[in-house]
């Protein structure tokens, strides 16, 4: 995997004579990094099952944006940023109803789950308010999480106890499970 680094602006001294190479490294590369920071946006386009009373990890199959190789088909549930830093982002998942009837049993929860050890953003909601025309919708949840640029990764996972298997909603783009991340700052 290519190694990417975060620019470290130089402290100038009076005898410094910035030639083209120095200007490129010290100014233009840094400005380019700021204008085009590492970012990704993953979607799920193929519906998946979410088992009752168990965590289901979202599988990403629609890679809209991946500037620095955070996605690997070998681990299609993960975003593994290759530039170290704090990343801010948002995520969301919608769950389809059970058939055409109201789906009011139990609760739903979605998490941005980091290295399979801790949550960096989550949402719980009871299902009692759902009607025959509404479903669990958790979009635009935000997080800010640290990544070491090599092994740290994040997943989106969902839990529900409706009593039956539920499916993710993918029929419309705005319903689809999504994960967006952008480099925020140095660790």
């Amino acid at each position: 995997m290519t190694s990417f680094t975060v620019p470290s602006p130089r402290t100038w001294k009076n005898d410094d004579i910035p030639d083209y190479a120095v200007l490129q490294t010290e100014l233009f590369d840094t400005m380019d990094f700021l204008a085009n920071p590492p970012a990704l946006k993953f979607r799920q386009t193929v519906q998946m099952n979410c088992t009752n009373s168990a965590w289901s990890t979202i599988i990403w199959d629609g890679i809209e944006l991946d500037t620095h190789g955070a996605f690997s088909s070998a681990n299609s549930t993960r975003a593994t940023p290759q530039v170290p830093g704090w990343y801010k982002g948002y995520f969301g998942v919608d769950l389809d109803k059970l058939g055409t009837s109201a789906d009011t049993t139990g609760r739903r929860e979605v998490q941005a789950y980091w290295n399979m050890t801790r949550s960096y953003g989550r949402k719980m909601a009871p299902a009692n308010a759902f009607t025959a025309s509404t479903f669990f919708c958790a979009q635009g949840l935000s997080f800010l999480a640290p990544f070491n640029g090599s092994t740290d990764y994040i997943q989106v996972r969902i839990w529900q106890n409706s009593g039956s298997t539920l499916k993710t909603l993918v029929s419309r783009t705005d319903y689809q499970p999504v994960l967006y991340m952008k480099w925020h700052c140095r660790l």
Binding site: L34, W86, G140, H184
Partner: protein, 418 residues
């Protein structure tokens, strides 16, 4: 300073900055009939007995302080000053104890700070036919150990914890070099001021140059009083960079290049821009609505933004648009449909961003977490923000804060533009 056969002591306040809290004490060679040394008006007595008085004052124009008593005694006195203390209430929980059994070991009276940003001070006073020295107990750093020059010798020591202590009862066992009767001990907590934008406080123990300068090699002992949480890096305050348009003939020396190239880039990379990640990881407590959450743990703090551990307010040093992510954690002891929950960002005590629609507690019988809520607010230097959890129809004993890693309440806030 020290003296013999006197009925007063004058302590110099030279070197103490105006507006700074100063402590003064005088210890006598014998008991006075009723009360100890008297300090002039304006001084607040922390503790006193028949043989000593310890008092504080915010330094004004005076250059010295004179303590008086009735009968002639040997005396020893001193002043101490700590930078960064609250000038209204610099002392908390003062307590005294007296040992009359001639012991060489003494335990300071218990002090329980009300915040995790407090240091604790111990002072002990004796008089004896021989000189005495003290050995501070574990957890204490001795600042001064003084005695008079003529028998009977009044002696005292002053020590502090040299770091903030936990919000628990604290006692310290120190020793004195020989049997002394009585040993009088004072213990209290130092209360820091809330200083926006500061990264550290300093404590200066003003040494008596006349009598004891050689002991420390300097007339001033400076010790960093660091209120950071362990492991947290705080960078110096960084103002918003001002970018100018260059013209032919500009002298681009190192100051210009660093100011115009390096500093803005560091700011835009958020190395120096204000940012804080703080959370509440303490013991769960009953929530009332609205509840400004105390923040006791900081996992990142950069630039000119500040909070005092244990308090709810985050103070802003650089004006601009700020973005944040909030999480509110609630634990129910009784599930009911009557309750609902939400999280909000307050600015200067007023709700400015509701970050979650209230969610009914039905079917959520255990921990509820509403996290990952994004907020954007425009803030001015001097503003403060708070993470607030709120709800309706709560019975306070049924709704508690949460503390586990994934459930706890947190706020992450960063400068995001002008």
């Amino acid at each position: 300073m020290r003296g013999t056969g006197a009925t007063s002591a004058t302590l110099s306040l030279s070197g103490v900055p105006t507006g700074q809290v100063v402590f003064a004490l005088v210890c006598l060679s014998n008991n006075e009939p009723v009360t100890g040394p008297a300090f002039p008006a304006g001084w607040t007595v922390i503790a006193t007995s028949q043989s000593y008085t310890l008092a504080w004052k915010v330094k004004a124009a005076e250059t010295s302080v004179k303590a008086t008593w009735t009968n002639a005694h040997q005396w020893v006195g001193h002043v101490f000053t700590y930078v960064g203390l609250d000038t209204t209430t610099p002392v908390e929980g003062a307590a005294t104890a007296e040992y009359t059994t001639g012991s060489t070991s003494f335990v300071s009276p218990s002090v329980t700070p009300t915040n995790t940003n407090r240091w604790i001070v111990n002072a002990a006073f004796v008089f004896n036919a021989a000189t005495r020295t003290f050995t501070p107990g574990a957890g204490l750093t001795e600042r001064y150990d003084g005695t008079a020059t003529v028998s009977p010798y009044p002696s005292f020591f002053w020590a502090d914890t040299n770091a903030p202590v936990t919000q628990a009862a604290h006692t310290y066992t120190s020793t004195v070099s020989g049997s002394s009767n009585p040993v009088r001990v004072v213990s209290f907590a130092l209360v820091p001021a809330v200083v926006r934008g500061s990264t550290t406080f300093n404590v200066d123990a003003q040494m008596d140059a006349k009598g004891h300068a050689g002991r420390f090699g300097s007339s001033t002992l400076s010790v960093d009083l660091d209120f950071e949480v362990a492991g947290v890096s705080m960078t110096p305050s960084a103002p918003l960079p001002v970018i100018t348009t260059w013209q032919n003939g500009d002298d681009h020396d190192e100051d210009a290049l660093n100011a115009q190239w390096r500093d803005p880039l560091l700011f835009l990379l958020k190395d120096t821009a204000p940012q804080i990640h703080a959370e509440f990881a303490g013991t769960a407590f009953n929530l009332t609505s609205p509840q400004a959450m105390p923040l006791d743990t900081v996992t990142m703090q950069r630039g000119d933004i500040y909070f005092v551990p244990g308090q709810s307010r985050i103070y802003i040093g650089v004006s601009g648009m700020y973005e944040g992510i909030l999480q509110g954690g609630f634990a129910l002891t009784t599930a009911t449909t009557a309750y609902d929950f939400g999280t909000a960002l307050y600015v200067n005590g007023v709700s400015r961003a509701i970050c979650d629609d209230p969610i009914c507690g039905d079917a959520l019988s255990a921990t509820q977490v509403f996290g990952g809520h994004f907020a954007r607010v425009r803030l001015a230097a001097g503003d403060y923000v708070e993470l607030v959890q709120y709800g309706h129809n709560w019975v306070s004993t049924h709704v508690k804060s949460t503390t586990s890693q994934d459930d706890r309440s947190f706020i992450k806030l960063w400068w995001a533009g002008v």
